[in-house]
C-alpha cells in the first residue's frame, strides 16, 4: 500500500513533467492573438495530462491518508507536496477560466520544483505528536496550502508578465533582478540534483564535533563537507575532509547544504547561459510573444484576490482557532505565526497599492514575485532555520 502510494506520486511527477512540452507546443502553434478562443489540440493534451497527474497525486494523498490514519500534511515533505498539488489544482482552475497554456508552461515547472524539493526531506509516515492530534490539522493546513498555492499562481503569471515586458536588448536593473529570480529557481533545482545524486551514491560521512555549549556530539553529513562543524573530526574513512569549519553557533550541516545548492545553482545557471548565449529571461521571451499583457496582469491580480481570503481564513483565522485549543492562546508570536502575519500584511499592501495607487503591470508583477518569496521563506527558512513551535523534522 505504501509502495502504491509512493508510485502514484512518481506517476504524478512524470505526468506533470510531460505536460510542459505540450503547453510549450501550444504556444508555438498559436497564431492568432485572441486568447479566448480555439484552445489548440496541444494545450488540450497538456491540460488533460495535468489533470491526470493531479488525479494521480490525489490518489497518493488519499492512500497515504488511509495508511497513516491522518491527512498527510504533518511534516515538511507532506506539506510541501500538498502545496505543489494545490498549485497544480489552482492552475487547472485558472486555465479553464482564462484558457492560457502559457500559464502552464510557467506554473507546472514551479510545481515540479516544489514537489522535487519536498522529496529531499524525510518521507517517512510520521505519527502525530499530541499537539497535532486534531481535526484542525487537516482544516488549517490544507486551507493554508490552498491559499498559498493560489497566491503562487499569481507569481507564475507575474513571471510571464516580466519576461514579456522587460526589455532584453539592454542591461538594466529589471533584467538583473529577473535573472536573480531565475537563478533562485535554478538553485532550487541544484539543491534537488545535488542531494539526489549523493543520496543515490549513498554518501555518508560522520563527524565528532563540539557544540556551542561545549558538549561533544556526532553529526552525519550526506553531502561532502565543504564546511565542517566546530572542531569537527571525520570518523568515516575515505570521505572528504572539510575545507573550513565554522563556530559551534552555526549549523554547519545546513550551511554546507546551502553552499552546495547555491554552487550547483551557479554551475547550472552558467551552463545554461553558455548554451543559450543570452539571459534566461531573454531565452524565455519568445514564448510570451503572443500573450496579452493585460490578461496576464489580470490573472496575477485575480489570483491574489482569490487567494488572499483563502490564505486569511487558513493561515490566520483557522490557525488562531486551533492555537487557542492546542496552545491555550490564539496568538503567541511564534515565528511561523509572525511570518503568516507578514505574508498577510504584504498582500494587503499589494492590494492597497494596486487599488488606489494604481500599481499595475510591471510594479504589481514585482510585488507578486516578492510575495512568493515571502511564502517560500515561511515554508523553508522558518521551518529549517528559525526554530519554533512549527518546526517540522527537517534534515
Amino acid at each position: 500500500m505504501i509502495t502504491l502510494s509512493e508510485n502514484l506520486l512518481y506517476i504524478a511527477f512524470i505526468l506533470y513533467l510531460l505536460s510542459i512540452p505540450f503547453f510549450g507546443g501550444a504556444i508555438k502553434q498559436k497564431r492568432n492573438l485572441d486568447h479566448q478562443q480555439n484552445s489548440s489540440k496541444w494545450s488540450t493534451i497538456g491540460i488533460v495530462i495535468s489533470i491526470l497527474g493531479f488525479a494521480a497525486q490525489l490518489g497518493f494523498f488519499f492512500t497515504r491518508w488511509s495508511i497513516a490514519g491522518h491527512a498527510p500534511v504533518s511534516n515538511l515533505f507532506e506539506f510541501t507536496t500538498f502545496f505543489g498539488m494545490c498549485l497544480v489544482g489552482a492552475f487547472i482552475i485558472i486555465y479553464f477560466i482564462y484558457k492560457t497554456p502559457l500559464l502552464g508552461l510557467f506554473t507546472m515547472p514551479i510545481a515540479l520544483l516544489v514537489i522535487a524539493f519536498a522529496s529531499m526531506f524525510p518521507t517517512d509516515i510520521s505519527p502525530l505528536i499530541p499537539a497535532l492530534q486534531s481535526d484542525w490539522l487537516h482544516i488549517h493546513v490544507t486551507t493554508v496550502a490552498l491559499g498559498e498555492a493560489i497566491l503562487a499562481v499569481s507569481f507564475g503569471a507575474a513571471l510571464i508578465y516580466l519576461v514579456k515586458v522587460i526589455d532584453q536588448t539592454k542591461n538594466s536593473k529589471s533584467t538583473t533582478w529577473l535573472e536573480v529570480v531565475m537563478y533562485g529557481l535554478i538553485a532550487t533545482l541544484g539543491f534537488v540534483i545535488v542531494v539526489s545524486a549523493f543520496s543515490f551514491a549513498d554518501y555518508k560521512a560522520e563527524f565528532n564535533w563540539v557544540d556551542k555549549n561545549d558538549n561533544e556530539a556526532k553529526v552525519e553529513y550526506h553531502l561532502p563537507a565543504l564546511v565542517g562543524p566546530n572542531q569537527g573530526e571525520l570518523l568515516t574513512d575515505g570521505k572528504m575532509e572539510p575545507l573550513v569549519s565554522v563556530p559551534g553557533i552555526i549549523n554547519a550541516k545546513k550551511l554546507n547544504t546551502v553552499i552546495w545548492s547555491f554552487g550547483a545553482g551557479i554551475l547550472l545557471y552558467g551552463l545554461l547561459r553558455l548554451v543559450l548565449r543570452k539571459r534566461i529571461g531573454a531565452a524565455l521571451k519568445p514564448f510570451t510573444k503572443n500573450i496579452n499583457l493585460d490578461l496576464v496582469d489580470e490573472i496575477s491580480y485575480r489570483s491574489v484576490l482569490i487567494g488572499f481570503p483563502v490564505f486569511t481564513l487558513g493561515g490566520l483565522i483557522f490557525a488562531m482557532i486551533w492555537a487557542q485549543i492546542a496552545w491555550t492562546r490564539f496568538w503567541g508570536w511564534d515565528p511561523k505565526e509572525v511570518w503568516a502575519l507578514i505574508t498577510w500584511l504584504f498582500y494587503a499592501a499589494f492590494l492597497h497599492l494596486r487599488l488606489s495607487k494604481g500599481w499595475h503591470g510591471e510594479k504589481s508583477a514585482w510585488l507578486a514575485v516578492i510575495g512568493f518569496i515571502i511564502i517560500m521563506f515561511n515554508l523553508v527558512a522558518v521551518n529549517l532555520v528559525i526554530a519554533g513551535l512549527h518546526s517540522y523534522a527537517g534534515s
Partner: protein, 548 residues
C-alpha cells in the same frame, strides 16, 4: 459650506468632482478634463480629505486618510515584525539564567545588541503597539473618508448620464443607424439573465450588479477594528486570566482565580509514547529515526465545586462537578474557564522513609515516612524512640552564607535536620541528612537515619485560562472574512445604454476584472444591431480600480 449645482439640476456637496446624479465634470475639477478616461475612483465624490486642509483636525484627518500612509504603516509593521523572528522572543527562552545574560551567552554580541534594543520583547514594545494603533486609526479614517461620499454617489446616480461621462468611460462605443425595439428587448432580456438590475428612464438603460461588493473593503475594515478593540480588552481587569496550576497525583488543589469556588483533583497523569509493536506499523521507519515520540499527555481529573459558604481557613465542603480527562487539544471547560494540558513532571519525590538505626550494632528501631509536601514535626516510634524534624529543606542548597537553604518549595532535593531521641540519648542527637550526604554537626552520634526508600508521583501542569475577549475577536474575524470575500469575489459592474438621436451609446464600468466585463458585454449584445464598445485603454495602462 457652499454646495455646487450641476447643469442637470442636482445639488452636490462642496468638493464633488463628478456630479453624483449625471456624472458631468463639475467645474472645479478642471485638472481631469483633459484625461481621455476619467478617474472613477470613489465615483468622483467629495471626500473630506480632498476638500479641506486648513485646521489641525483637517491635517490629521488628511494624513491618516491617505492610503499611501496606510501602506507605509503596513510596510513598517511588516519589517518590524520580521525583526522579532531573528532570535527567539523572551517568552520562548529557557529561564535558566537572567535574560540579558542568556542572549549574550547564546548569541554573542549580536544577542546583547538584540536585547539592548528591546527586540527580545518586540511585540509588546511601546513602538510596536503604537504602529498597530496607527494602523487602527488609519483604518477608521480611511474608511469614513470614502464610504460616506461613495454611498451618496452610488445612491444618487441617475440612469441618464452626461455625454462627457459616457465618453470618458474606459469601455465606450457608439452605434449609428437604427436599432430595433426587439434588439432593445433582447438586450434587456440578456442583461436580466446575467442578473443585472435594470433601471430605465425614457428608453435609456442602466444595468448594474454587484454594487454590494463595493462595501466589502469597509466591512472588512470594520471587522479589523472590532478585532483590534477585542485585543485591547485583554488589558481590562477580569477579562483575561492566564495562570499555571501544578497538581500532583492524588492532590486536590483550588483552581486559581475562581474565588475558591472550584477545586481540581489530579487522579492520574499519563504520558504515552508510540510503540512500534502496537501502533500503526506504517510509523515504523519514522519511530526508528526519531526514537521516542509522544502519543498522549493526559490528566485524569475530578472537578469540584465548593458547597455553600466556607469560612476562610475551614476545609471547604466539595461537590463533584465532573470527572474528565484533560489532553492536549482537549481542554476541560467549565463556566468561562478552560484547563489545558501544557506541562508535566514525572516521578517527583513524594515520600521518603528512613530507619532509625544504631550505627554500631546496626539494629533498627522503626521507620518513619515523611510526606515531602506535608512533613510532620514529630515522628513517634515504639519504646520511647522518636524523631523530631527540626528543619526541612525541600530543594536544598548551601546559601551564600554557608548555611543550608531551599531554592523552592518543590521537593527536588530534600534535606532534613533530624533530632533523634532514644533511651540512651533522651536529650537527642542532631543529624543533617541530604541525598548521599550526612553531617553530624554536634560530634559523633550513636544513631543515624538510614535511607529506606522513596515514593514518587507524577505532577501535571495545567494552564488556567479565562478569555472573555474571544467572542469579540472571533466576531471581528468573521466580519473581516465576510467583508474581504464580499470585496474580492464579486465585482461591481455597470452598463449604460443610451439613445442619442439616431445613435445608441454604450459605456461600461467595473471596479475590477475588465476581461470578465468585456466578455459579458459580448454575450449581452449578441444578436442585436448594437456594436460592441471598445476598450479605450491601451495595453499596459490597465484597469484603474477603486476601494482600499
Amino acid at each position: 459650506m457652499n454646495q455646487v449645482k450641476c447643469d442637470c439640476g442636482h445639488v452636490n456637496p462642496h468638493g464633488t468632482i463628478l456630479c453624483e446624479a449625471c456624472g458631468k465634470i463639475i467645474e472645479d475639477g478642471t485638472q481631469i478634463t483633459a484625461e481621455p478616461v476619467i478617474d472613477m475612483r470613489y465615483e468622483g465624490s467629495a471626500r473630506r480629505s480632498q476638500t479641506y486642509n486648513k485646521s489641525m483636525i483637517d491635517k490629521v484627518w488628511n494624513f491618516f486618510s491617505s492610503v499611501k500612509v496606510g501602506v507605509w504603516l503596513i510596510i513598517v509593521t511588516l519589517i518590524a515584525s520580521s525583526l522579532g523572528t531573528i532570535l527567539p522572543q523572551e517568552m520562548y527562552i529557557p529561564t535558566i539564567m537572567p535574560v540579558a545574560e542568556y542572549y549574550e551567552d547564546q548569541y554573542g554580541w549580536f544577542g546583547r545588541l538584540y536585547y539592548d534594543l528591546g527586540f527580545h520583547n518586540l511585540y509588546s514594545s511601546w513602538w510596536y503597539l503604537l504602529l498597530i494603533a496607527a494602523i487602527g486609526v488609519s483604518l477608521v479614517i480611511c474608511s469614513l473618508d470614502r464610504v460616506v461620499p461613495l454611498y451618496r454617489a452610488l445612491k444618487k446616480q441617475r440612469v441618464i448620464r452626461h455625454e462627457s461621462f459616457l465618453q470618458r468611460q474606459r469601455i465606450y462605443g457608439i452605434t449609428t443607424g437604427s436599432v430595433s425595439d426587439q434588439s432593445y428587448e433582447l438586450v434587456k432580456e440578456q442583461l436580466k439573465k446575467k442578473r443585472y438590475n435594470i433601471r430605465e428612464d425614457n428608453g435609456n438603460v442602466l444595468a448594474e450588479k454587484g454594487r454590494f461588493s463595493r462595501w466589502g473593503p469597509y466591512v472588512n475594515h470594520v471587522g479589523l477594528i472590532i478585532f483590534l478593540i477585542g485585543s485591547m480588552l485583554r488589558f481590562v481587569p477580569g477579562m483575561y486570566i492566564d495562570e499555571i496550576l501544578w497538581v500532583r497525583e492524588g492532590e486536590t488543589k483550588v483552581i486559581p482565580e475562581t474565588d475558591g469556588q472550584y477545586y481540581l483533583k489530579n487522579v492520574d497523569f499519563k504520558l504515552e509514547v508510540y510503540d512500534k509493536e502496537t501502533d500503526n506499523e506504517a510509523f515504523g521507519d519514522a519511530l526508528d529515526n526519531a526514537g521516542m515520540v509522544a502519543k498522549n499527555y493526559q490528566s485524569d481529573v475530578i472537578l469540584y465545586k465548593t458547597k455553600g459558604n466556607t469560612v476562610a481557613g475551614d476545609e471547604p465542603e466539595l461537590e463533584e462537578v465532573e470527572s474528565s480527562s484533560i489532553r492536549v487539544n482537549q481542554p476541560l471547560k467549565f463556566e468561562k474557564f478552560a484547563l489545558y494540558q501544557v506541562n508535566y513532571k514525572l516521578d517527583e519525590l513524594f515520600k521518603m522513609s528512613f530507619l532509625l538505626t544504631n550505627k554500631s550494632t546496626g539494629e533498627t528501631f522503626g521507620d518513619i515516612t515523611i510526606n515531602l509536601n506535608d512533613p510532620e514535626k514529630l515522628y513517634e516510634l515504639d519504646n520511647d524512640y522518636s524523631v523530631e524534624l527540626m528543619s526541612y529543606f525541600p530543594d536544598f542548597e548551601f546559601g551564600e552564607d554557608g548555611n543550608p537553604t531551599t531554592k523552592s518549595r518543590v521537593p527536588n532535593n530534600p534535606a532534613f535536620v533530624f533530632k533523634m531521641y532514644s533511651p540512651e540519648k533522651p536529650e537527642g542527637e542532631v543529624s543533617f541528612v541530604a541525598i548521599q550526604q550526612t553531617i553530624e554537626p554536634l560530634g559523633d552520634n550513636e544513631y543515624k537515619m538510614a535511607f529506606n526508600g522513596i515514593e514518587t508521583k507524577d505532577v501535571t501542569g495545567l494552564t488556567v485560562r479565562k478569555d472573555l475577549t474571544l467572542w469579540i475577536i472571533g466576531f471581528g474575524g468573521l466580519i473581516f472574512m465576510i467583508g474581504v470575500v464580499q470585496g474580492a469575489y464579486w465585482n461591481h459592474r455597470r452598463i449604460w445604454i443610451q439613445r442619442k438621436g439616431d445613435e445608441v451609446w454604450v459605456a461600461a464600468h467595473t471596479n475590477k476584472n475588465w476581461f470578465g466585463l468585456k466578455k459579458e458585454i459580448q454575450l449581452v449584445l449578441a444578436g442585436t444591431e448594437i456594436k460592441e464598445p471598445m476598450d479605450q485603454m491601451k495595453e499596459n495602462q490597465v484597469d484603474e480600480g477603486e476601494k482600499d
